[in-house]
Subunit: 346 residues, 2 copies
């Protein structure tokens, strides 16, 4: 049995206690300053405010001031805070990670948080690149964690297949997967960190277009399934192109992190709902305002801007093939006729 | 302008008159003996019984006894009858196809009908293989037509991206695509007939499993999105394996004919509904009986049996990797615990 520390007691971080505890590991769940207000009630058996599922029995909870205690002796650490907090939390955690000169005994740092990271100069890093740079001597090997994974389902122990990747030929990913794998939580392992990291934010962007097709159905009273499927296929292809251009593999886009995650993201979720509002006739700005009023952050909007930066700074060679990505950006920028723009990109 | 004859006035055959007439071609729509009863009313401007959409203006309608008239002078022929009738209709059409020694002037025969074809000895052919054999001297080059394509949307002129393939390096597919392409009907072209033909029936089988996940949501009151996404990703992977094993390409499974068509088939349709009944707690036999009572043929059921034959006869080398396909077959055969069987396959 190992000791695993989860940093971030949001929906996903808290949910991962379920497979870990099912395997009998010692689990320390540390909440950020954003989690402190519900942490005691959650520790006492109350439902999580995000997943509505109680914490796995036996997991120990640590408030934000106790990061050192939470990390003491951790064999593996999972970072599951909101993307905006990843570097800050990683920096705070770094001094407390177990250090060892022997790579086989360095803890693995599972990175659940996803997103494109923008540097001060505007250029874009994938998240693990940014974390490695931020913590300098991490004392840990990073394992990127992705794939179609709704937190409430993981928390409740329903079947979930995910993807783990590490650049050390997948060794660290295998080690972490072995700690976490249960009959209902099933990581597959690869070395394709770049492919996995690319798909996670991009699928949020493409889900806006999938939602757009759903919204057309509302505004026209007719199904647009053929359009939605064409968008799905093109989105998959473009994720593969981006993955490959950044040193990853096309297959990753055609696996759980790509088409798998796009499937679930296009079924439900905020990005899809936002796109559906545009399809139903709202302008992109009106739709975003309505989402804001409902307290709903649309991750794909920020991701689309960062993706545009990524294209400009690192993907010049394939930029003219990413037509759907460009079309979504144009729609979010207020294009007059979204259907014409999206149709023209397919 | 060309003369194009569509054989089969069902939903899809009738729908294809829309892009053809939009391009100003002469269109002859021939109905089988199953279509005769509604053909006059449809010709007179009534809605099609399948799509509820009227026939594109200017298309000429031919009853089943007039196949020779319908085919006279056809530059291209599209076969769009139910799978079970493809060989019979192809044989009847063959004597009337324009013959020419020059391959550039032989008519193209677009094959919309899909499915695995079982020979008398039980072995399985892909549909174009069977058609080529049945008509011996076809006087035409076959173009396989697939991809996500709901007939009612094509008939109404809503955006549809499809895939055309012909084994002559895609030349015939290109010729037919050039006749049919409109701003809203958009064929892409390849030479991968096998890949395209494999995906079409297999996606109906896999859609049963996607529906199963939806049905679990009904019976448990909880979402099973992660399971559905895992099924989707595995189904895509298995379609790629089968395509490759039969001489096709993995990319086809990851394009419109594969993930694109699986997306639309998993959204709606009879295969999905049948799977959802099983997920909701009916046995496979009960669910099939209920579908039959509602007059709903579940194509994926027959396809799953034929796919099993295909695996036995031609896919021995990859049989043990097609775990989801085998699991679906086991569920349809009455496995006691479908969730355990499907979960075990992922």
């Amino acid at each position: 049995m190992a000791r695993v520390t989860i940093l971030g007691a949001g929906a996903m971080g808290s949910a991962l206690a379920t497979p870990l505890r099912a395997n009998g590991h010692e689990v320390a769940l540390w909440g950020t300053w954003l989690d402190d207000h519900f942490l005691q009630e959650f520790a006492d058996g109350g439902p999580h405010p995000g997943t509505k599922v109680p914490l796995a029995r036996g997991a120990e909870v640590f408030t934000s001031d106790r990061i050192a205690d939470a990390l003491a002796g951790a064999d593996a650490v999972i970072v599951a805070v909101a993307s905006v907090g990843v570097l800050e939390v990683s920096r705070r955690a770094a001094p407390h990670l177990t250090r060892s000169a022997d790579p086989a005994h360095r803890p693995v740092l599972g990175l659940v948080s996803k997103g494109f990271h923008q540097r001060m100069d505007g250029s874009i890093d994938l998240m693990p690149e940014a974390v490695r740079e931020a913590i300098e001597d991490p004392g840990a090997v990073i394992v990127a964690i992705g794939g179609p994974c709704k937190a409430n389902e993981v928390a409740a122990g329903r079947f979930t297949a995910t993807a783990f990747a590490s650049t050390d030929d997948g060794r660290a990913a295998t080690a972490l997967a072995d700690l976490m794998r249960t009959p209902d939580y099933r990581p597959s392992v690869s070395d394709d960190e770049a492919g996995l990291e690319v798909c996670a934010p991009l699928k949020n962007v493409y889900a806006i277009a999938l939602g757009y097709a759903d919204g057309l159905e509302q505004s026209t009273g007719e199904p647009w399934h053929n359009l939605k499927s064409a968008i799905f296929a093109r989105a998959s292809e473009e994720m593969g192109l981006v993955a490959e251009a950044l040193g990853g593999r096309v297959e990753t886009a055609f696996g759980l992190p790509g088409v798998g995650d796009l499937e679930v993201t296009g079924l439900s979720g905020r990005n899809k709902v936002y796109g559906a509002r545009i399809g139903a006739g709202e302008t992109a700005a009106e739709a975003l305002e309505h989402m804001r009023e409902a307290g709903q952050t649309v991750e794909g909007v920020a991701a689309s801007g960062l993706a545009a930066q990524l294209v400009d700074s690192r993907l010049g060679s394939i930029a003219d093939r990413l037509t759907l990505l460009a079309a979504i950006r144009a729609v979010l920028d207020g294009a007059q006729d979204p259907l014409a723009v999206i149709r023209g990109a397919l």
